[in-house]
Symmetry: C2
């Protein structure tokens, strides 16, 4: 069975949406990615860092979901990364209220020995130098490296980011970031240009408008499931990425057809993530719920026209 | 063979996009709807009005495409409806520069005798009183009535619009209009509410983000085809509606499964409309191009995951 290594933040989030407000709750890219990937029963491990203030109960929860936490360094006299944000009525817009890097400021990732030969590597959204640090600790190149990043790194650490982009198979970014990175407004042209930077696969996330997968001329689209209510969008993109790489790790099939399935599973899991605050829904999500929603995705997208 | 009656504007448009600029060219909702529906070889007729300034060559072109123009009244000493608009770099935003109603101001629609028993009725976007005037001239209710409208009528003639909405089977509006009409932000909730106003089917058009079809709990999504370049979005919504009702008129099958196909054909044809200025592409579009694009839509959306 293939192994999946995930690098990313494990953090505290404080979230305000039109529907309510939370104190510091469990958050972080690696948290959402690993919980999502865990639904496929894969052998996964996290590389991250937290402070002495991070509750043991959160770590236990991750372990109970089959996630190896030996790569989560605990800095006893440090504080855990903290992000606070507020969503507008249209949940596509959010303001960041607080960003406290804390222990993340000096994070020096160390890949546990058991995962240096992982076949699948997910680089969650954080400083490209940290992402590169993880790549360099893996003597054999993984079968598939997926990179998530954001406009902040394009604005502040572009040369380092470009070095990482060169080394990955898949990049996942949102539509505005694809436009910024490529200088092209058309997402088709943007994807073409990003291919030339390294990634054979470009995944463009459009939030409630779904996600596009490009692979040198091939293109696939997965809609977001239309929901009665989106409660809290935090973590949806990470959950999407976790579902994508989790499914690929389980099936070990990197054909474009199977990538399509992976994108659908990513959308499927993300549609659950947004139904409750933080990781609440992802912690209890059952296989039968996922399978039921897969039927909804089929009904939503599949049609049967005979070609003439 | 079923007949399709289309009421809507036949007009002059002057369009500016980031890619160029036109003088007064052929435009109008009924023009785009009928050209799109004509690709299915249906027996269709237009009810509309133009001025003495309207070139005979445009009418000839419509006739050559098999469209009955006997219901297009020509007011010799009047001027044709004229709209001028400018699109921003992101083509989702446009400014209306000029609207000259001209002969449309006093338009009193008269349905040609040959079409009073049409089984399919498309109410293109114009004053709800005109739409109602057409409905009342049809002694037997058509099998399917599709209504297109916009925020302008919601703002200025809401009571009259609501009377029309009560009488139709399908309403097609964009996402912002669905929110305005229903007072609900969630499109799922908006569709539920609009069902209670009359229409069993609610089609929500999201431009480059595709279209949703709701029918009391059932939902289907058709993406827009990701294009290298969108040249001129004018008429895309009408072309979509024309493809939708044209396919239904041809197949005479009103099951939800066939409605899905109709939505896909609508998206298919709209993806051509935006490739050139005005009606240019629609006038020459061939069956083989449409079938080829259908294959692209299948590749874009169809996946094959086994349920577990």
């Amino acid at each position: 069975m293939s192994k999946l290594l995930i690098v990313g933040t494990v953090a505290f989030d404080a979230i305000e949406t039109p529907f309510g407000k939370t104190d510091k709750i469990l958050g972080g890219a690696a948290t959402y990615i690993s919980l999502s990937a865990s639904k496929f029963g894969v052998n996964s491990g996290i590389v991250s860092v937290v402070g002495g203030d991070f509750p043991k109960s959160h770590l236990n929860m991750l372990e109970k979901n089959g996630i190896d936490i030996s790569g989560i360094e605990i800095i006893k006299n440090g504080k855990t990364f903290f992000w606070s944000g507020k969503y507008h009525n249209d949940l596509n817009v959010r303001d960041t209220l607080i960003t406290e890097l804390n222990v993340l400021a000096d994070f020096n990732p160390i890949v546990p020995q058991a995962f240096v030969d992982a076949e699948f590597l997910m680089l969650g959204n954080l400083h490209p130098a940290v992402q590169m640090g993880v790549i360099k600790q893996m003597p054999k190149r993984p079968k598939l490296v997926v990179l998530d990043t954001m406009n902040f790194w394009m604005n502040n650490t572009l040369p380092e980011l470009m070095e990482v982009i060169k080394k990955v198979d898949v990049i996942t970014i949102n539509d505005e970031e694809a436009r910024q990175l490529s200088g092209e407004y058309s997402l088709v042209k943007a994807a073409h240009k990003i291919h030339t930077m390294g990634p054979k696969y470009v995944v463009i996330k459009k939030g409630e408008h779904g996600a596009l997968l490009f692979n040198n001329g091939n293109v696939f689209f997965a809609p977001a499931l239309p929901l009665e209510e989106v409660f809290d969008p935090t973590g949806a993109g990470d959950t999407f990425a976790g579902g994508f790489i989790g499914y690929l790790t389980k099936t070990e099939d990197l054909s474009f057809g199977n990538m399509k399935n992976a994108i659908i599973y990513g959308s499927n899991l993300a549609s659950f993530c947004v139904e409750k605050f933080g990781t609440t829904k992802m912690e209890t999500l059952s296989q039968s719920e996922i399978q039921q929603r897969l039927t909804q995705f089929k009904n939503l997208t599949q049609f049967d026209i005979e070609l003439q």
